[in-house]
Amino acid sequence: MSDRQFTDEESVPEQGHDDVDPKGPDRESGNTREPLPDRRTFLKSAAGVLGLFAVSSCTWQEFFQKNFKQMTKEEIEGTIERLRTQYKEKYGKEFVVGAEGPIDGTLYAYGLDIQRCIGCRRCVYACVEENNQSRDPQIQYIRVLRFKRGNMDLEESTIYYNPEEVPEQGYYYMPVQCQHCANPPCTKVCPVQATWTEPDGIVVVDYNWCIGCRYCMAACPYMGRWFNFAEPVIPKDRINTQTHYLGNRPRMRNVVEKCTFCIQRVRKGKYPACVEVCPVGARKFGNLLDPDSEINRIIKTKRVFRLKEELNTQPKFYYFFAI
């Protein structure tokens, strides 16, 4: 079995505030906003603006860190050391920050059997746990859309369904996450090349290079990208310390993040967390270049479709019906 088990109780995000960083902004929940700043806040912030660099609390090394693609091996090692120290200070744990490169001869693709999916959202929370997503404000890479049987009209779908039991009569479900397009509209718009496609087909973000312009979010037709509108809050005891530089290492505020097919897992040969957790086995993952991989057998024997194919984004995320 997998090294990380996701049971129901474990995956439920903490609703309480006990383990929320007390220094974090005092918000009731992820969807409330700061009220109008009062005069005292103004004075305080006026002092704060004097030091733009202090605000960002960067060390010089971090400030001048290069784009990951341009780093030498030594620079990568140095960066990882610094990140580990930083994370230990923040979360009190030893982190593994990997920088494993792509495995030769791999091109990852994903299959999702929408005939099978029951809309239980186990994948959503497994993903949050595995990938250290902010619990407040809430970031969830996977959206599970519920359609009424009889159409696939996105405007008629909802992601907020909450019945006692799933699946519900008369509905079907379709999870949507980053589709890891072969012709991604998001990477080409980035003004600083902070996001790119790795040789194994994974679309990644260098969180330390992203300038936070959110152009990629406007460009993505699948809502596959998320922005840390505030400092991410992850309870210390829920943090996953097995990370990858381009994957699930803790992020900072005001940068974009996204699904990476669990790069920290798949580059070590493991299935992504969402595949491991799916109770109905609707989620499939594998190597497109291996003719015997599960994903290839699906493509060859089943009817597959890709979301919004008319946009020529060429997703490597295949929906299928395994009748």
Partner: protein, 405 residues
């Protein structure tokens, strides 16, 4: 000796003025400080203090940016009629227009920076040091053309005024190519800005090739309207002369531009309404509301009414030639285009979301204050520039004037 003399006298010019000048500058400075304080709050907490969400990921800042790019472009495009019709001494018009362009551009850059999550990483955009993703990123290209345009608009008036200050004749053979170059450059800054949105297949509201022409047409309305108001203010408080005829000519031009703008809007409307696909949804959200949500509906109909009213005012010679109605028209058109472009063009692009959700957007107090701050800073820059250059332009501030004094 001479150079330091210029700076001393420049500062002297800037700090002396009638009481209304001091009040104006002080008000702007106060608002600018308020804006800076609000921005620092945003820096410390993150963009969560804005109304933007994962659904509507661009908002008020980018809307104002888009509007101001249009102003910057159109201010310079006024050179065309001035040049074609040989309307008075060309350099008068060029210089005030370019002063407006410079301040509008600086405001654009401030708005983009305010919208950035990580302004501390701006250096990533500098080619060589960071990586500017050219040619594929339209935003990268926009940064290049905006900065090039800024340089051009600093260089041209800078040269002309330097010559004027030293009482030397302007070498038109030298400067005309730059003036001519600034025309296509003005068009290109606005076209490229339109392309930023236009190129996104994920957002059908923007993904229509009519977008860039619409941008230009609406810029030709709002920019000149601002210039007209500016000329009247300048004319009132300084010895700078602008003929009435010039203003009426501009008003006439605005009427044509507005006609084109309304025509293009109609074309867009026809295409979406008649084909009646899902691509209609953003337009429906904007003009009628979608799934019971229609926050922008009153705004956009106001904009439409303003634009049509202003069009009629500028079309009829009697109202065009009357300063009372002319100024009403100017204000209407500035407000109309600001709503249409700043709000009505950016926000509906995100509604409904690519996965069909309708989540509305409204700017928060922080966003409004930062916006106020940027506008105040921009107007302050414009005021100071004009305060400095108009005496040079009118011959009050020259090298010789000092020796005479």
């Amino acid at each position: 000796m001479q150079r330091s003399g210029f700076f001393v006298r420049a500062v002297k010019t800037l700090v002396t003025g009638p009481p209304v000048y001091y009040v104006w500058v002080l008000v702007l400075l106060t608002f600018a400080c308020v804006g800076i304080a609000a921005y620092s709050k945003q820096l410390q907490t993150g963009l969560i203090v804005t109304g933007m969400t994962g659904y509507v990921s661009w908002g008020f800042y980018i809307g104002n940016f888009t509007f101001l790019v249009g102003v910057a472009a159109a201010a310079v495009l006024l050179i065309i009629p001035a040049y074609v019709y040989q309307f008075g001494p060309i350099r008068d018009i060029v210089i005030v227009g370019e002063a407006l362009a410079v301040s509008a551009l600086l405001m654009c850059l401030m708005f983009v920076t305010a919208d950035l999550g990580r302004p501390d990483r701006l250096w990533h955009l500098i080619p060589g040091w960071g990586i500017l993703n050219l040619p594929t990123s339209l935003l990268g290209w926009d940064i290049v053309v905006l900065n090039g345009y800024l340089f051009l608009n600093l260089f041209i008036p800078g040269y002309i005024l330097w010559k004027a200050y030293h009482n030397e004749p302007t070498n038109m053979r030298f400067i005309t190519p730059f003036i001519i170059l600034s025309i296509p450059w003005a068009v290109s800054i606005h076209t490229v800005t339109a392309f930023i949105y236009n190129g996104l297949a994920a957002r059908p509201f923007w993904n229509a090739s009519i977008l860039a022409p619409r941008f230009l047409a609406s810029a030709f309305c709002s920019g000149p309207a601002l210039v007209m108001l500016l000329y009247q203010v300048v004319r009132k408080y300084t010895k700078f002369h602008v003929k009435d005829e010039a203003l009426f000519k501009i008003a006439e031009m605005i009427a044509y531009a507005m006609a084109i703008n309304l025509f293009l809007l109609g074309a867009e409307f026809f295409k979406e309404l008649y084909s009646d696909t899902h691509h209609l949804s953003p337009l429906q959200y904007l003009y009628a509301g979608l799934h019971g949500k229609g926050r922008l509906v009153p705004w956009i109909w106001c904009a439409f009414a303003f634009n049509v009213a202003a069009f009629l005012i500028f079309l009829v010679p009697a109202t065009r030639r009357n300063f009372a109605t002319l100024n009403v028209g100017c204000v209407l058109i500035i407000l109309g285009i600001w709503i249409e472009k700043g709000i009505g063009l950016i926000i509906p692009g995100f509604i409904p979301s690519p996965l069909g959700e309708v989540w509305e957007y409204a700017p928060t107090a922080v966003e409004l204050l930062v916006t106020l701050g940027v506008w105040s800073l921009g107007l302050l820059i414009l005021t100071l520039i004009l305060k400095l250059i108009i005496p040079i332009e009118t011959g009050e501030l020259t090298k010789d004037a000092r020796t005479a004094a």
